[in-house]
Symmetry: C2
Subunit: 128 residues, 2 copies
């Protein structure tokens, strides 16, 4: 697909670049409604997807729209296959100094952390 440019898309990207609040689609919509009175949420979502495809922005998710639950309470990390969506446990040693490490910048109280690795799992690699 050959993308054209549009005022709406350009402004959505500018807005995302100008903030570090990790906005939701709805926040972006509210911000731009004054500038584009007829703007619709559908347009915001469509453009966010296109910007993602173009590698201009990212999206904080787990690669699926479903909530996923985890019955292991021991600290561990996750590997998510971007092709088949499978989520696997990574039982590598927990980086226990992580909390203090990030403290100076965050200035809040860090209680726990989480790491996800993204890539292609062994099964999917075999299918190439």
């Amino acid at each position: 697909m050959q993308y054209r440019s549009s005022k709406q898309r350009k402004r959505i990207l500018e807005l995302l670049r100008s903030t570090d609040t990790h906005p939701t689609a709805s926040w972006i919509y509210d911000q731009l409604k004054g500038e584009f009175p007829a703007l619709s949420l559908g347009t915001v979502y469509r453009n966010l997807r296109i910007l993602q495809e173009q590698g201009e922005i990212t999206h904080l998710d787990f690669g699926s729209t479903f909530d996923r639950f985890d019955g292991r309470m021991e600290p561990h990390y996750h590997f998510v296959c971007e092709r088949c969506g499978k989520v696997m446990d990574v039982m590598m040693p927990v980086l226990s100094d992580m909390e203090t490490f990030s403290c100076p910048q965050v200035k809040g109280k860090v209680l726990r952390h989480r790491i996800e690795f993204f890539g292609i799992c062994q099964d999917c690699l075999k299918q190439d």
Copy 2:
């Protein structure tokens, strides 16, 4: 709230403990439908929330039901305030050996990783 026990909740927990596939609510529902023919998805969701409150399971999310977008493409990490839901950037040095580090276990190709810190942000701490 004073929780009682129920067969459904007990089996949902057992099921989650017995797998490492990080199931969705719907998968759990399908698995238990044979055992509880009248089971409803509502019950599954309700119990998943209760189990979470009891600290028996966890939930892979970002603390909100909204998609969140990020306009910064330089590698960086995130801090999520569990009280107000704010997401902040953590510009600590990227752990570049991370990919190879996790490889032996995952056996797939790791392309990138992500780290989130969870806790209480400075603003919320002040309010105590």
